[in-house]
Structures are given as structure tokens and as C-alpha cells.
Symmetry: C3
Subunit: 417 residues, 3 copies
């Protein structure tokens, strides 16, 4: 995160490329380049934006703001400018945040060509009348939209997508937290022997997910779940936003993990405002994709300002977020359905050495109970997670029990396609 | 209501005709006459009943009760009588209300031919022994059952029925309140440009709705909602009784309106006792017809007595009831479903000038949010009312947003048939 | 119960036979004998076990425990033994209950051949070192598994099963309470004219229900409900455990009865641990069979010990349990569905003498209301129980009303097959 922080990313350009190259040191991300002008549903890939420098000098020639000290100072996707103008004209191109006069706000102008600067409001109000020299050294040219994709193939084609937006410049919680956690999650998961496949997407917000979706419609039927990651580094409680479908397998899985941990959390219904779940959950796509954050966008003052910096996120919040993501993906991977192959009455467990031969003793034995639960509800309808939920027996025991029963020929897995 | 109050109505006869003629001064009601003996499902249109006079004179020749002072004094639908009889025989033909000895009760005898009088119990107990002259000048002859119907044609054949019973004599809350509110509601609605059609029924209770339903089975598939109006002039809270279907579009609409207003209200489940919703919601008809009242029948002491008079209802209760009815019908009319024509990901609103081009600023904009909600849930399943309910954005904004999006070619209305 | 108590029952053998013969004095139970070695789904009928005697003598020749004083002293299904052994070896074959040192625990070893004794822990710890003579005079030979079945044929083939386990030796609540209540329930029900059929099963636990199910698959489509009876003699509240299907007609019926009585009760969801409902509700059988107990197994200290004796159960608890069972079976038998033959609007009740001809009077009449409820909801979907539940009118009135309406040709019963 420290290494990624200084880079000026946007929805296109070298900022994204450079960031993905850093991530490639951790996981073998494939970098895709999609040319300007490419159609993606109702959208078109815009020009590629790159920036070298940006500053304002006052009449005395002193740089009063400088891109090199904070890349938030230049309106993201700003058109180039080099001119001398008076204060009044300059003011029309400056954005500040009245509510937080010490912080530089983050502003963009992707789809309307204009130039601009962002600065702290307290500095803004002290600007004296006079001539200013403004310089924004950017290019807006035909080029590419860049995104990263890392696919871990499991036994099954059934897959989960993990998506984060990679278009924000020097902002940490939103969304270097999502980017780094996706990377470390992938790094740990590739060590595991996976039953299902997992696809990590590092994409520019909105246009990136739209481009990816438009190029990958053939995968939709494989995508059984998905998570959008953002704002996972602050110390607020976990907030899970359900998929549009609601009560999807994923929604149940995330709720199960959060309920069973010692963390504060809340679950929200889907709404069509937010991050890229907007696209994944648009009515014509409607994938079971939820979103996991700590404090959601717009709900903390530092959001989209220079105060969302390396100090704002903390190690332990990031670590717990990662643990939760690991647990969710482990559960997604481990969850499965079986058919009981001896469904008429209980099979004789004793004969198979599965049941304590000596009956009549008081006190339930958890493993015997787990066998009864798994056998009774392995009807092709209930997943192991459902069974764990109903029985209040932990998933690991249910899962191990299922393995044992399968080894004895009592269960058959219901396989995806 | 003042003009209608003195008229002696019954399920047939001139009382209904005269009342409908008064209403015709406000709205162009069509008066239907259905001959005695006409079959209507399990029923038959009864004889037409008319009354000229009715009184009891004591031994001294003094009128002790007189139809001309209150038409409740004569048992409604009473057979004629002219005779001199002793007190004991007379008592068998007199109805009083022990619980409210000052009030004249309202009683009927539609389907069993008999004669009778109603009087205050305190007067009844002071009758002295002796001869009494009784005179009820009524006729029960082949004639017609009369009802009124006013149909406002909207763009669509889809229709809502608004039904009130018109068979009660001098009783205000039950149901001059329903009759007058239906009339003023219709009067205001005919000024509007309506998308849907609205049919107002002014009918005698039970037999009137049965006759209407038996003659209009061809309309059932058009009737998407309906409301029975009664008891809307007292100052009790609004009580909405759901249709038998339950959770119908209408049930949702009424609940939405009541929830969003500053009124007390309650919602009750359907039960097969009450007003004409009994017929509309019989199992072989089962139309989505609810009932709206203030205090329901039987739940206020003045119900079906001379105390349900012009003093019992009040202007402001009637006015608020009318506002609620206007709001419900407006919402019924304005509610509709759309299909998003760009359902794969969000359409590019900015390109169409629909989205503030300058993004990244904190704070949701309600209109932008409304666009996202309408686009995401315009899947042919969710109505604008559903979207308003889910998003907590007011219906007007949702509706205007849908118009805007349709104008930009992004939505297509799901049209009824 | 007093007569059955001393008998040493097990899953096979003369104990079950002798017990069934006693029950035959009350109801004409048919006794079935299924040979050792018979296959039943995944199981095989085991050898027949019979016991004549069992004791331990100390070095002085004194019987320190004796089967004749409590049949719990011999491990149920114990293999025979006659030997002299030292204390240490003896201890390996003795079972005690540390938590309740005064009581003899009940233990079995059905599916693993071994021998053993059970004794009070306080006696166990005072055994002196030395030689002991052990004698268990049992036989384990090819023979039969015995169960009893009593079928009361009603008008319809639709049937309810009432099942109790008959394999426990001198234990009263578990399950002489179930056995005797099933017997007296059947004895009372055979006096009634029944619409539905009722089948009483007196079977050894687990293997008995598995054997019965494997031999009666052709009946499954007739079995519309079932109840397992156990632990009905203690003074705890009634506990009803739902069928696996959940919200079955039976679940609704039992809840209805319990809700309407002055007893404490609770309703639990199905779980695959317990008595023979485990088999009836296995996923490949899945019959709508619930379980009714007072305090469930394992939830009272006397369970499966010598303290579950004749003093532990009490007359009034048994009597109330029987009343509840009678009420449930009466309701199961009386519940039915009708189709309204005049479903379009209300039929004219007055013309048929069904409605008080004189209308307009305040105050609902319960019988009239019942007619409206039955007519409106007799749509082939709602049973009389559903109607009673919805209307809050007691079942007897609803049922009598339905009879009256059917007698007038207004209803037609929806007959099973």
C-alpha cells in the first residue's frame, strides 16, 4: 500500500499499469489492454489519460500548489492547460471542501473535458487577487483502458469473482485497501487446493466492470458468487451489502461467517448505488455479487479527501478484514451438496464402525449427531452450510463428517454441471 | 349530504332513484333499472318498495310516532298495514334499542314480508294500554331495482371500481358519507387526464352488488383493483380492510398512502363479513377489492340508529377522507411498470445529459439516485410504487424520473394487455 | 403399566411378545413375527434374545446383584456368561452412572456381542477385591423380531399412524407411558365412527420402525399424518417436535390443539435425533410424522435409569396426555375440505332458512359468521381447521356449520383420491 500510494491512477493510463506491475510481484496478474473506442454495452472506452505535472504559481512565481506534493491537487482526468489568468477565472477551476477546510478533496471529470485543481479551502480563501500561472501537463489520446485479471482454476468451472476498483489516486481506504487485500487473499488462496475457481479483477470503477462484463458474457453461467471489496482498512464495523438477488448462497455464506466471528457487522439490502456491484447487479446481468466494506463510501468524513491517507488505515483492521475474506472464500470453496445414497431410514452406522456400538448412554455425541444431520439433509437441496446453520454444529465438523460418510459410500456429491 | 339525508331509501324504490338524480347534478351517473324477478346468481331481484307515510295514533288520536319526523320509524321494506290493535299486539311489531333508549334503531325486513315500527325505548316503555291506530302506507309491487354507475374511461381498459351502498335511509356515516365522497371523488377525477379507467358504483347493499356482478362478468379481467367506501365521516382513525387475495397491488397502494400521511390508521385482514366486499371477494369472484372506512360498522354506538345523523359526521373528517381517496386513486392511476431497455450494466447517463457530468463529489443527489433505482428495478416485475417503497424516495420523484428516462428511450412501459 | 413394568423387554424376544399379549386384552393387536436375517433396507433382523436369569455372587456366595430384583441389572441384549473372575476383570463389564450413584443405569449392546451388568455406583465402589461368580443366562439364537399392529379402518383409506417403541425393560416414562396411552387411545377410538383410518404400531425402537417401513412401502401414499409417542407420564410441559416436512397438516393440527388448551407446551423444529421419527422422517421416506412427549429423552435425570419407575409417572399427567391425544386424533379425523357450490357471491341464506330473516340488528351472530367463513374459504384450498384458525371460531362450530351447509347443497366435500 505504501508503494502504491504515491501513484496517480485514473480510469485509464500509466497509473493503473504501474500499479498492476507492482501487484505482479505478488501474484501473476494478467494485464489486459482495451483500445480507446471499444464498445462495451452502452459505453465506449474513453481516451487514455496521462499526467506529468501540474501546478499553480502566484504572481511572485512561487508554486502555491503542486501535483508532486499531492496528486489530488489536479482534477483527475483534467484536460491540459498552460496559461496566465486572473484570480476570478482561476477560482472557477478550483474545487475545495467547505466542510473540511484543511483537506484537499478528490474530484474527477471523466466524461466532460475540462481542467481544474483541488485544494484545501483554508488556502483557497487566502488567495490574493492578481495573475496566476497555471500548468497542467496531461495528455488525452487514443490509447487503452487497462485492467488486471488473475484466475485461479479449481477442480470445478464454478467460479467466484473478487473485484476491486483500481482507478483512485492517492487514497488509501478507497481503494488501496481493496486492492492490497485482494492481492494478499489471492496469494494465500493459490497455495490451497481449491475445488472451485476464483477470479480476481483489478479494474477501473464503472467503465472497468462494464468493459469486463461486456467481454465475458460466456462466463456468467459459471459465476455462482462474487464480492466487491472496498474501504476495508478503517476501524469501522464490517458492512455487507447483499446481492440484488438477495438470500443468494453468497449472502448466506457471508452472514454465516460474520455471525460466527467476534466482530461487529451489519447486513444491508441491495441498493443500486455504490461501487461496481451496480454493474454486476444490473437487471440484465444480475449476478449474485455482494459487497464487503468496513465503513461504506460517503459515511466517513475522510472519504475522497487527502485525509484518506496511510495514517487513516490501520494494520489490525486490514488484518481482520483479510481473515474474514479468507474465511468467506474457504467456506465458498468448501461448501457443497450431497445426496444420501441410503435415504430410506438411517443406514446402519454401527455395522460400518461409524457409530459407537454401545448405545443407551445419556449425552449426545457431537460427531454422531453430525452424522445424523448430514445424512438426513443430504437430499440434494441443502448444502453443508445449510446443515451447519440448522444444526448449530460448526461447519468444519459437518464438512469432515460428510467426507467420512462419503468415504463409506453413504453420500454422493452433487456436482456442478 | 344535507339534501340526501331526509330521503327514505331502501334496496329498491324511489328513494334510490331520487338520490341518484341529486347526484346527477354533480356527475353524469347512468341510472340502471333491473326488473323484479331478474335472476342474479343465487338471488332474484325483489319487488319494488315505496312508502308514502307511516304513523301510530294513540286512543286519543294523537300521532305518537310519525314517518314524516324520522323515516327510521317505519321498519324498512315494511309491508303495508292499516288497522286498530291493542297494545300487546302492537308491541310485537315494535323494535327498540335497549342499550340506547333515546335513539330510534334502524331495522329492515327485506326478505320476509312483515310490518313494523322502530322507536326510542324510553318512549316505548311509557305506552299505556289501550287501542292504537297503525298506518303504514307502503307498496310492494313488481318494479325495478335501481343503481347508478359512472364510468370514467382512461387510456387503458384496466379499471378500478369504487363502490358504495345507497340503500340506507336517514343515516349519515353509514352511508351518506360513502355516497357523497364517491361523488366528489369522481367529480375531481374527471378533471384529470387518466391512464386507467375508474368505475363508480352506487348500489343497494348485497343485492345491488350481486346484480351488478352478475351482469358484468365480462369486465372482471379488467378490474385490477377496487374499493368499497363506507363510514368515512366520523372522527375515528382510517381502517383499511384488505382484499381476500391479500397483498394485492391495491393493498400495497393503500398501505403506502396511509403510511406516508399524518393520520392514524390500521390495516385488517380480509374477513367475509362486512359490506359489499363480501360479494366482490366471494371465492368464485375474488376481485382485488378492499374496503376503506373510518370506524367500521358495529364498532360505534350510533351505528344503525337515529344518532347517526348530520351532527355525527364532521367536515374535517370527510375532507381528510376525500384527500386520502384522491391520493389513493392518483397513485393507482400513476403506478406502472417499465422494462429497462439497456438492462446490461447502467446506461451511460452522462452522455445523455442525465447525470451530473462532474463526479466524485460527496453527497447523494436524490434525482440521480432515483434514476439508478428506476433503471435497476424496471425489470417488468417491480412497479414504480414498489420502487418508491424500496428506495424510500417519494413516488412523485420516482414517477417523474421514469418519465424522464422514458423520454430518453431508456424505458418501455409494460402495458396492460 | 403396573403389569407391564416387571417384564424384561428388548428389541427381540419373549419380553415383547408377553407385553403385546397383555395389550391384546384391551385391543385386538395383530402380532407380527419377522425372522432373524430378514433384510430391511440397510439393516438385517438380528438374532432373538431371551433371558432367564442373571446375577453376581461375591466370594461368600452372596448374590450382590440379581436380575430378579431389577432387570436393568443385566446389560440389555447381553451375551451369556457363567464364570468365576477377579474384581478387576469384573469391573470391565460393569456400567454405573456417576452422576446418579443411587440409580441403576439402563444400557444396551444390540449390535456388538458382549456381556455386562449395570449397578448403582455407590454399590460399585464398595466391591471388595476377590473372586466373583457371574452368571447371565441368556440365549441369542435365530428367531424373530416381534411387533404389534392394530389398524382401525375408517371410511377413507387416508390414514394416520401412531407409533411407540416397545423395546425398553422396566422403565415407565420411556416408554410404558407411550405404550399404555397408545392402547387406551385406540380403545377409545374404536368406539367412534371414523372417517379416516388409524394404525397403531407397537414396535422395537429403530429396527422395529425400519422393518415396518420396509414391509409397508405400498401404504406410504395413504399416510397423511403420524405421531410418535414417548415420555408422556412425567409432569413436564408437552413438547411437540414437528415433522421434517414442517408446517404439515399435522403440525398445524397439534399446534391448534395445544394452543387452545390450558397446558404449557412448546413446539420444536425437526431434528434428526430422537425416537422413531428419525426413520419416518428420513429423507427417502419423509412422512409427515411428528413426535409428542412431555419431557423429551435426555432432558430429565431419571431418563434411562432405575428411577424412571412407577413412582416417576403420575396419573393426572397420563390422563391429560390421553385427553390431548384424543383431541388431536378427533381433529385429524374431523378435519376436511369443501368446495363452495355457489361460489359467485354469497348464496341467499335467508331463502333457505339459514339466515335470520330480520336484518339490520347490531351484534354479530357467531353461527351466521361461521356460515360466511365456511362459504368464503371452502375453495378446495382451506381445511375446516384453517378456517377455524383464521376466524377464531371454534372448530366444532365450523364443523357443524359445514355439515349444515352441505345438507343444504351448498358444499361438496373434497374427497381423498
Amino acid at each position: 500500500m505504501t508503494e502504491l500510494y504515491p501513484i496517480c491512477r485514473s480510469i485509464t493510463g500509466n497509473g493503473v499499469r504501474d500499479s498492476l506491475k507492482i501487484l505482479q510481484r505478488y501474484i501473476p496478474i494478467k494485464i489486459h489492454e482495451v483500445p480507446t473506442g471499444t464498445k462495451a454495452f452502452d459505453w465506449t472506452v474513453p481516451k487514455e489519460w496521462n499526467i506529468k505535472d501540474g501546478w499553480i504559481k502566484d504572481a511572485s512565481g512561487k508554486k502555491i500548489i503542486d501535483f508532486k506534493s499531492s496528486n489530488l491537487h489536479v482534477l483527475n482526468y483534467s484536460a491540459p492547460i498552460k496559461n496566465k489568468i486572473g484570480l476570478e477565472e482561476l477560482k472557477e477551476h478550483i474545487f475545495t471542501d467547505l466542510d473540511h477546510p484543511d483537506w484537499i478533496p478528490y474530484r474527477t471529470s471523466y466524461y466532460q473535458e475540462t481542467w481544474g485543481f483541488c485544494m484545501a479551502h483554508h488556502q483557497f480563501i487566502e488567495l490574493s487577487p492578481g495573475q496566476y500561472e497555471v500548468n497542467i501537463d496531461t495528455t488525452l489520446k487514443n490509447g487503452h483502458l487497462t485492467y488486471g485479471e488473475y484466475f485461479i482454476k479449481g477442480e470445478s468451472d464454478e467460479e467466484m469473482i473478487i473485484s476491486c476498483h483500481i482507478c483512485h489516486p492517492s487514497l488509501c481506504n478507497d481503494n488501496l485497501s481493496g486492492i492490497t487485500l485482494a492481492t494478499f487473499l489471492a496469494r494465500q488462496m493459490r497455495q490451497r487446493k481449491l475445488k472451485k475457481s476464483f477470479r480476481f479483477l483489478f479494474i477501473p470503477g464503472t467503465i472497468g466492470s462494464i468493459v469486463w462484463l461486456s467481454r465475458n458474457e460466456h462466463l456468467f453461467s459459471n459465476i455462482k458468487q462474487g464480492l466487491v471489496l472496498a474501504n476495508l482498512g478503517d476501524n469501522g464495523p464490517i458492512v455487507y451489502k447483499k446481492s440484488r438477488i438477495g438470500n443468494s448462497e453468497l449472502d448466506k455464506t457471508v452472514e454465516f461467517v460474520l455471525k460466527n466471528r467476534q466482530v461487529d457487522y451489519s447486513i444491508r439490502d441491495f441498493m443500486p448505488y455504490g461501487y461496481d456491484e451496480r454493474q454486476y447487479c444490473s437487471p440484465g446481468i444480475n449476478l449474485p455479487v455482494g459487497r464487503i466494506t468496513r465503513t461504506p463510501h460517503n459515511e466517513y468524513p475522510e472519504y475522497h479527501t487527502s485525509a484518506d491517507n496511510l495514517d487513516f488505515v490501520d494494520d489490525s483492521s486490514l488484518a481482520v478484514s483479510l481473515e474474514i475474506l479468507l474465511e468467506i472464500t474457504e467456506l465458498v470453496d468448501g461448501n457443497r451438496k450431497y445426496m444420501n445414497l441410503q435415504p430410506k431410514c438411517e443406514p446402519q452406522l454401527g455395522r460400518r464402525g461409524l457409530y459407537e456400538a454401545l448405545g443407551g448412554k445419556s449425552g449426545d455425541k457431537i460427531n454422531q449427531l453430525a452424522m445424523l444431520w448430514v445424512l438426513n439433509y443430504s437430499d440434494g437441496e441443502h448444502s453443508l452450510l445449510d446443515i451447519s446453520n440448522r444444526s448449530n454444529i460448526e461447519f468444519k465438523i459437518i464438512s469432515d463428517t460428510a467426507d467420512l460418510l462419503r468415504a463409506h459410500g453413504l453420500l454422493e456429491e452433487v456436482v456442478y454441471r
